[in-house]
């Protein structure tokens, strides 16, 4: 689905995923996670703030429905601010809470969940942050959108949508919990105002 819409900055943006498509993508990712893990045992979901945390919660709900168990206690948030390699080059970043499930991450299969996979630097920081918390048995990566332009050798295990994009384009992930609606939009920065979100 590709249709004109209103971007975050009030400029023209193409909507590349609507609410239904996001829902279907998350359901598919949930099945992929269970299949790759051969069941729900020892799975932990860690969302990367801000939108990754909401996506991790939604995935947990789906995993719970599919596997018939409560995934609530297995969802957390992993803030990567302190582990970023661009702290000096930008204004001081505010960090977000890190919440780790009570059982920790040792020996678990940790699925990192983020909204957009772009340069890969956020995920590199997440791997460092995770190493400070314990030693998972395996780490997987699930993202809603992979827009390319990797600067590090990082690849997602589950992708909601591959979205080839120019660097000048801005991909925005809008989630109901934060933005009041579900959508993935793309706009050209040369024409529109750069929007917040989904620049990871």
């Amino acid at each position: 689905m590709t249709q004109p819409g209103t971007g975050v900055g009030g400029t023209t943006a193409r909507t590349v995923l609507g609410a239904d498509e996001i829902a279907r993508a998350l359901t598919r990712i949930a099945h992929e996670i269970l299949e790759a893990n051969q069941g729900p045992d020892d799975l932990v979901l860690l969302g990367i703030p801000t939108r990754g945390v909401h996506l991790a919660q939604r995935l947990a709900d789906r995993l719970g429905d599919i596997a018939g168990i409560d995934f609530g206690p297995r969802v957390g948030a992993l803030d990567v601010t302190m582990h970023r390699d661009d702290l000096r080059g930008r204004p001081t970043r505010a960090s977000q809470p890190t919440r780790i499930p009570a059982d920790g991450v040792d020996g678990k299969t940790v699925v990192l969940v983020d909204d957009v996979l772009y340069s890969g630097r956020t995920i590199r920081a997440a791997l460092d942050a995770l190493a400070d918390l314990g030693r998972p048995r395996a780490v997987r990566l699930a993202v809603l959108v992979d827009r390319g332009h990797r600067e590090l050798p990082i690849r997602a295990d589950s992708v909601g949508k591959n979205l080839p994009s120019a660097r000048s384009e801005h991909v925005s992930i809008l989630l109901d919990e934060v933005d009041g609606r579900d959508a993935v939009t793309i706009e050209d920065r040369a024409q529109g105002t750069p929007a917040e979100g989904g620049t990871a």
Binding site: L87, R88, R90, P91, P97, D132, L133
Partner: protein
């Protein structure tokens, strides 16, 4: 924020620092107590006055953020050979350090240093002037006591705090009197008339109330009591009550403790047990004294991170400079 020289700061800035300290607090429960945020940065703890607790707290905070931390004390350094504060500061800056934490017996020394050296400066206590990180850690510990894990984003609105003791000589009291009202707390300074600063006693210049009768204040059931150390070494020729008079009028004795069964107790340490606070009060489960020490590391991590992590400070307001 370029420097942290004073606890006078806008509410939103104070809450942002306390929230950041909450994030830093989490790492105390971790196996690896280390964040890489200040890797490659060098911080000098320039302590012209003796201090174990504050210096160690800043040292741990810097190290947990992966900064290289160097401690310079006034004694045995070039300062004791007669070097001026300015020359000492410029020398340290010339060595390429990224930030300076300074404690000095001279009120205003950190502000002068900040103007001279062009690097972030943190005031770790200057004379009888201010001790902003102590006020922040007091606020942090109190906020956690009141709101628990849901403290993030909250102030101390409506919380009634009595600060008791030698207000006039206490930089801790001054910084708290600046910070706590900004967070919404109602502050009452309580002490012998000789220990109350004129500015507080003659009205509301500080936005706080001043009282000399502790028992009257206890009758109002304050939510928190902050007992200050009686600093015999700072009083000079000041007319002060004798220890016996002080205990009678302003000590948190067991009897007074029983009259405020709900109040949270704070003390910046080190304590004179039996003088400003009874042992039972100090060891009671309402005492946050050790929580304050723990909070000190988290708050100082937040301050060092805010000042040193970025080459592009996000804001530069007049309050915290």
């Amino acid at each position: 924020m370029k420097h942290l020289l004073t606890a006078a700061m806008p509410r939103d800035e104070a809450i942002a620092l306390l929230d950041l300290a909450e994030d830093m607090h989490q790492i105390q429960d971790r196996e690896v107590k280390k964040l890489p945020a200040l890797r490659g940065r060098t911080v000098v703890n320039l302590f012209f006055e003796d201090s174990t607790r504050t210096r160690s707290s800043f040292e741990i905070a810097g190290k947990w953020l992966s900064a290289d931390v160097i401690n310079v004390s006034g004694k045995g350094s070039s300062v004791s050979k007669g070097e001026s504060l300015r020359d000492t500061g410029l020398t340290i800056a010339a060595m390429g350090v990224d930030g300076v934490v300074v404690r000095s017996g001279a009120s205003g020394a950190p502000a002068l240093l900040a103007d001279w050296i062009g690097r972030p400066v943190v005031n770790a206590g200057d004379g009888t002037h201010e001790h902003p990180t102590q006020a922040l850690l007091d606020a942090f510990a109190l906020r956690r006591r009141i709101h628990g894990d849901a403290a993030r984003g909250k102030g101390l609105d409506g919380v009634r705090i009595a600060i008791v003791g030698d207000i006039a000589h206490s930089r801790v009291a001054r910084s708290n009197a600046l910070l706590l009202p900004a967070l919404g707390a109602e502050v009452t300074l309580v002490g012998p008339a000789a220990f109350l600063p004129v500015a507080a006693a003659d009205g509301t210049r500080l936005g706080v109330r001043a009282e000399t009768d502790l028992d009257l204040v206890l009758d109002e059931q304050p939510d928190a009591l902050m007992l200050l150390r009686v600093q015999l070494e700072r009083q000079g020729g000041h007319v002060a009550p004798s220890p016996a008079e002080y205990i009678t009028g302003w000590s948190l004795t067991d009897e007074r403790l029983a009259r405020v069964p709900e109040a949270t107790l704070l003390h910046p340490g080190p304590m004179n047990r039996g003088l400003e606070i009874s042992s039972r009060a100090a060891d009671s489960d309402r005492s946050t004294i050790l929580e304050q020490v723990t909070a000190g590391v988290s708050v100082r991590m937040a301050v060092l991170y805010s000042l040193l992590a970025s080459d592009h400070p996000s804001s530069d307001n007049g309050g915290a400079r």
